[in-house]
Amino acid sequence: MNRVNPFNRDRRRSRQQTTTTPSSTSEADRAATLLNRSGRGDQTAFAELYDLLAPTVFGIVRRVLRDPSQAEEVSQEVFIELWAIAPRYDESKGSPRAWMATIAHRRAVDRVRSEQAHRDRDDRHANRNHERNVDHVSEEIITSLDHERVNNALARLTASQREAVTLAYYQGNTYRQVASLLDIPEGTAKTRIRDALIRLRDLLEVTQ
């Protein structure tokens, strides 16, 4: 899990002196303002919102899909969808980042599963699922304070919790697939994912 080059990280951090706290309130407020303006048809605001959150959207889509050109295609669809439904964004339902990440992850996972279903119908390609065990991490991952904070939190999970979250979220598996990949009962997989996410929520101090 420890894939951060600390030297690289420090170098990057010194360039970002203005960022004092990760996912700072001001950034969330700015995203909310931009999203509300986008919802009223403001394309300039949407362009700014893109700059703010495209790395998160593209990053998670790419992580799940792995293939860069597919990731680009799905990310584009996600952004157009976000634009189209921006008038329906409801701040009380979550931060702009949560809203966008939810849609981006859902679309990436839908793409993976529709392709899986397609392949499963094709006997020649049975067992491809195991390929998903390999967790490719791009060299170009942006080392940010979020990255560091989340990796510190992930490091404090048990190894089996971390594995379950990685297989589920970063690799787009259902808890049933996680159970089968780890050869554990489905109930155990479900509990492990739940315990891991509760721990992360508490470590990352996420509360509404």
Partner: protein, 233 residues
Amino acid sequence: MNQDHHLAAAYALDALTPDERQRYEAHYPTCEICAAEVSDFRETAALLAAAASELPPPSLKAQVLAEVGTTRQIPPLVPEPVADLAERRRRNVPRPVVLATAAAAIVALAIGFVSLRDTTRNTTVDDLLAADDTIITQLDGGNGTVSVAWSASRDQVAVLGTGLTQPPPEQTYELWLLTETGAEPAALFTPARGAISAVFDVADIDSTGWGITVEPAGGSPQPTTPILYAGTL
């Protein structure tokens, strides 16, 4: 339902099976504890996403902004028409209100994630929905919602759907006119981002209902896969 209370984490990570996801999406908004958990876990998942941040290729921004310029946004949420629609159905109101019902059906569909980008085509959908003899049939089965609006005088149908699963590459959805003796091909369509809103010309035959299957690109003369969505006229 008790067991569903523990699904918030798996749901927020998109780790439920489609059936469970659908069931949980019906449950959690009605359960205070689950709704709060989903909200927290989504913020947590978003941090996991942020930790995977990666700069997209610069070309992506240009492509997105170009498409934004030609993509219509859905109107802000107005929940009333849906209740209105249900109410009208219950009271089984006569003809003149059916037109309003057709318009309300569009609003109801739009509450899903619908992107309406082709204004010309949407005018045609509106025209069809406003025709005197249009019959709207909601089809059952599969993911999402799909309805067929059929006008016998125009020999046209509008297919309106949202939340549909994208057919695999090289495949398409095919709409069938179901008859006493089998099925006749009616239309081929591929949703964009799970949504479809399009008008097709159909044959003038006595149909008993509608069916939708997934077929190889280009369509089939007869269904080659089980019917995914069906509705009776």
